[in-house]
């Protein structure tokens, strides 16, 4: 029973691919102006940098505008059903740990119908790269509210405004024990590409929430803090080992008051400012950061957590390998296990 593929990651033989190698022949069919285009572009730019044979890369998605993604990437791809991409990806990766598996999902696909699978894939720490396109709306079904839509939002299915509070995807990922958790933005192409790269490099599950503009049904959902002219004042980029600073001249900072964060305007030195640390196993810091709600705080962007943990698919493989090391399965022997008797 050998794994049935022709290519593994063989050291010294790293392929040299270019962005074009990851562009499929399918016409891209998102609405003009959709944030999805940028995410696709950064992904296609990033993939060659991984130096993985293209045939070992798989994109799995659910259903939604975002979930059309696999058609556009020239790798193996599986456009599955609503909310279930993570289950398929978990099975694939557990069966075939040598593959590099990406999961593309939306705020509805990943957090509404698929929320439970997200929790469990994260707690298992299956070595998957999950990218959640958060446009805070159901795009494909034409504009109903999603679990990340703001409280009170008026949509097609909430003409009187929603009566439910949104989920914060990062908070959920942290609570489920995801080992790599980050947030990026469709328009910040450099940050996005870099974040996708770091996520892909991570061993264990990586979760990247991407703020994505749906210009048809929820245009400007993130404009309040990421429009060009306000961006620097309203977002804070998280960088490991660095104090939290933001503002046009990087003049403001974040510090802790007890366990509560607070903004320090025009912070003189870095003294007393909160220093980011993605490597904490303990979740306290990451949880404090994710609790910085806009507009009281600038919106944190970047890697919240990046730690090691036991990787599910690896452990399963190790159990199999260990059992086989003691002697591979003997079919005749297990058929004859227990009491037998002979009739002649």
């Amino acid at each position: 029973m050998t794994t049935p593929t022709s290519n593994g990651l063989i050291a010294g033989e790293l392929p040299v691919l270019t962005r074009k190698d990851f562009v499929s022949n399918q016409e891209v069919r998102w609405c003009p102006g959709c944030g999805d285009y940028s995410i696709l572009a950064q992904m296609q730019k990033m993939l060659p940098e991984l130096r993985i044979p293209r045939e070992n890369v798989v994109f799995i998605s659910g259903i939604g505008c975002s979930s059309r993604f696999p058609y556009y990437v020239e790798t193996y791809g599986f456009h599955s059903i609503h909310g279930r991409a993570l289950t398929i990806a978990s099975g694939l990766k557990t069966a075939r740990p040598e593959l590099s598996v990406f999961v593309v999902t939306g705020d509805g696909d990943g957090l509404s119908i698929g929320g439970n699978h997200l929790l469990h894939a994260m707690r298992r720490n299956v070595d998957l790269n999950v990218v959640l396109f958060n446009n805070r709306i159901y795009g494909l079904t034409k504009g109903q509210f999603s679990p990340t839509s703001e409280f009170g939002k008026v949509t097609k299915s909430s003409p009187y405004g929603t009566t439910e509070r949104p989920l914060n995807p990062i908070r959920v990922a942290l609570a489920a024990g995801a080992t790599f958790v980050a947030r990026s933005i469709d328009r910040d192409t450099k940050h996005l590409e870099e974040t996708l790269y770091r996520a892909a490099q991570h061993k264990g599950i990586s979760f990247v929430e991407v703020y994505q503009n749906c210009n048809i049904f929820n245009d400007g959902a993130f404009a309040a803090f990421y429009d060009k002219d306000v961006r620097q004042d309203k977002m804070v980029y998280l960088e490991h080992g660095k104090p939290l600073r933001f503002g046009k001249e990087n003049q403001h900072g974040i510090r802790l008051n007890g366990f509560q964060p607070e903004v320090v305007e025009n912070a003189a030195g870095d003294d007393g400012l909160l220093v980011h640390d993605t490597k904490q196993q303990n979740l306290s810091l990451a949880n404090i950061l994710v609790g910085m709600d806009y507009p009281e705080f600038p919106v944190p962007i970047g890697v919240f957590r990046d730690v090691d943990g036991p990787v599910y698919d690896q452990l399963v493989q190790e159990q199999v390998d260990a059992a086989r090391a003691k002697g591979p399965g003997d079919l005749a022997a297990i058929l004859h296990a227990g009491e037998t008797w002979v009739v002649d």
Binding site: H79, S80, I81, T87, S90, L92, A322, W341, V343
Partner: protein, 635 residues
């Protein structure tokens, strides 16, 4: 082949062809163990046999209560048998609740052994007895043998360093010893088993063996039983045998399929009665490269299996009825993406949660139709516990050859039931062929093998075959998303046609009995034994009755229509409201007669015989006789 039978000359020995015994007691009384040990002994002796365990629904219902009763019935015989017997000849009832819930089944005149110690006021009340049945004459129809098993056993264990509870718990061995004696069987098998089992608890081992022997000796020395019985060994094909349950056989069949195909097995599942044992079995078999994935729910379980199938592994998911309902949307993804996947449904009584520990055959139409759209899968059903081994292998063969999901419909009766199994010669099992698409060649995911209509399978890791599949309709030519009307029409027919073509790749339906005649009794799944026996009995009675059993439900064997049209009547007994009946009637426009029991219990042979008589006009309409306990809730 036989162990020396222990029949002593001073007792009268009567020879019987077949005996059915039911052990019944509180769930804490170890009745499953008692039954299993007797079964093994009979098997080693060479009897043919069949068993029917009957667990209570609760993990541990209150001691002595009606819902807490656990039973194990076995039938052993000197000739071929197919069922665990309609009505026991012998009932061993360890307490009043066990008596109450089981006495209705004992055949009139049958032997009734009870532990009289337990028939005291508290227990009688728990069993809702107003007066003591051992004393009020209500059991006069039976050969009542009250024995103070508890006390006798206590005496036997006197002096052992065990507390009263542990001593009490060994009284099932006492009962086992007594019954072994009664049927002239050796204690060897049980002694050997117990010695291994309790190797780390020598005190318990000692108590159990003493109990066993005391029971045995009690039979030998008392005058309570004047007759001992002998059931001679059956003539069975030569070979090495073991005892196997349906769920075990299923697990082994899947692993065998992995060995025979050379593809690693991946099992995605979520625990559910009565399918969980397949998960337990497979999770042990890592040395075969088996990976088990206990998912967060049934949807994730099938999702993971689909992922593994997509990855080129041998993909399996298993569940029971409610779980199959949950899997239906994802199963349709496997239908649409044409991936090889086996789905096992160990059916239980429904609808909804129903009666999880009871058997039923009521998921056939769910398996056929329980998905949106025109969605075809192959459906197989094992006829007996050991048949699960072969049908599991067959399921994978078909899935891989036709690139199609296959549902294997087992049921609680088949899955939990067990029987002697002639262990097949591994080297004689045929290899399971499959192929991935060739690297370096032009690849189109929906290009089809002209013979099987199977699509071409390329898996991640294959260089140059990168492609996308998914749940949207795809162009049969390019594999791209397609909303084209003709394409959808043709793809739907191709998905269906691929399943239909399996018909030419499976054995014809075999008939037992005359090849034309008055009645064909047609069955499927776990009713095999009862149907076969009933038809045999009918023939013995001179009636023109044949029987045939479908192990392939979709597609049907190619000769089915011809077979059906060879009889005046077709009778279809099922443990549901008429599911195979609908398919047969609708497909062939034949006025097949449905015969339906939906009680959570397997058919009795006599019930099918009764219905045969009705159809032949030899009697009036057949009416089920349900056991008297029926008024009780939780009985």
């Amino acid at each position: 082949m036989t162990t020396e039978t222990q029949i002593k000359p001073e007792h009268i020995v009567e020879e019987l062809d077949r005996v059915t015994i039911r052990f019944a007691g509180d769930s804490g009384d170890g009745m499953q163990l008692t039954g299993t040990q007797f079964t093994k002994t009979a098997a080693v002796f060479g009897n043919d046999l069949a068993t029917l365990p009957d667990f209570p629904a609760e993990i541990r219902a209150p001691t002595g209560s009606l819902p807490g009763v656990s039973g194990f019935q076995l039938s052993f015989s000197g000739s071929d048998i197919h069922t665990p017997g309609d009505r026991p000849d012998v009932l061993v009832a360890m307490n009043p609740a066990a008596l109450k819930t089981n006495i209705g089944d004992l055949r009139p005149g049958g032997l009734l052994i009870v532990d009289e110690n337990e028939f005291e006021p508290t227990n009688l009340k728990k069993a809702a007895y107003v007066s003591n049945p051992l004393e009020d004459g209500s059991l006069s129809a039976y050969q009542l043998v009250p024995i103070d098993i508890t006390r006798q056993n206590e005496l036997a264990l006197e002096g052992l360093p065990l507390n009263a509870k542990d001593k009490f718990r060994s009284r099932n061995f006492y009962a086992l010893g007594l019954i072994l004696w009664l049927y002239g069987r050796s204690m060897d098998t049980t002694v050997k088993w117990a010695t291994e089992q309790f190797s780390r608890r020598p005190d318990i081992l000692d108590a159990n063996l003493r109990a066993l022997k005391s029971g045995y000796n009690f039979g030998e020395t008392t005058e309570l039983f004047r007759v001992q019985y002998r059931v001679p060994p059956a003539v069975v094909p030569a070979g090495t045998y073991r005892h196997i349950s349906g769920n075990e056989a299923t697990a082994l069949g899947c692993v065998a399929a992995s060995v025979l195909s050379g593809l690693p097995l991946f099992y995605g599942s979520y625990p559910i009665t009565p399918a969980s044992d397949i998960l337990h079995e497979l999770s042990k078999l890592k040395a075969f490269g088996v990976k088990t994935f206990q998912a967060e729910d049934e949807i994730a379980a099938i999702g993971a299996a689909i992922g593994a199938a997509y990855g080129g592994h041998l993909a399996l998911t298993g569940t029971s009825g409610p779980g199959l309902a949950l899997k239906s949307e994802a199963l349709n993804l496997a239908v649409m993406t044409e991936l090889p996947l086996v789905v096992i449904d160990v059916q239980r009584a429904g609808p909804s949660t129903g009666m999880p520990t009871k058997t039923e055959q009521s998921d056939l139409l769910q398996a056929m139709f329980g998905r949106n759209g025109d969605s075809y899968v192959a459906i197989l059903a094992p006829a007996t516990p050991s048949d699960c081994f072969l049908m599991a292998i067959e399921a994978f063969r078909i899935a891989l050859k036709y690139m199609v999901p296959v549902i294997l419909l087992s049921d609680g009766y088949v899955g939990n039931g067990s029987e002697p199994w002639r262990i097949p010669d591994v080297s004689a099992l045929p290899k399971i062929p499959w192929s991935y698409a060739k690297e370096g060649e032009e690849y189109s995911p929906y290009s089809r093998d002209p013979k099987t209509l199977a699509r071409s399978w390329a898996v991640p890791g294959q260089k140059g075959l990168e492609h996308r599949i998914g749940g949207l309709e795809k162009s049969g030519q390019t594999g791209d998303i397609s909303y084209d009307p003709r394409n959808h029409h043709e793809m739907t027919l191709a998905r269906k046609g691929r399943v239909d073509r399996i018909a030419s790749d499976i054995p014809d339906l075999e008939v037992q009995g005359p090849s034309t005649g008055d009645i064909l009794v047609l069955g499927w799944g776990g009713t095999y034994g009862a149907i076969t026996s009933a038809a045999e009995n009918a023939r013995k009675n001179g009636l023109s009755v044949a029987s045939a059993h479908l192990r392939y439900l979709n597609p049907f064997p190619g000769n089915l229509e011809k077979v059906l049209r060879s009889y005046k009547h077709v009778l279809i007994p099922e443990l549901n409201t008429g599911q195979l009946s609908l398919l047969v009637r609708g497909r062939f426009v034949i006025d097949a007669v449905p015969f339906n029991k939906i009680s959570g219990q397997p058919f009795k042979i006599a019930e099918i015989e009764g219905k045969i008589d009705e159809v032949l006009g030899r009697s009036g309409p057949y009416v089920f006789e349900f056991p008297q306990s029926s008024g009780l809730s939780g009985g």
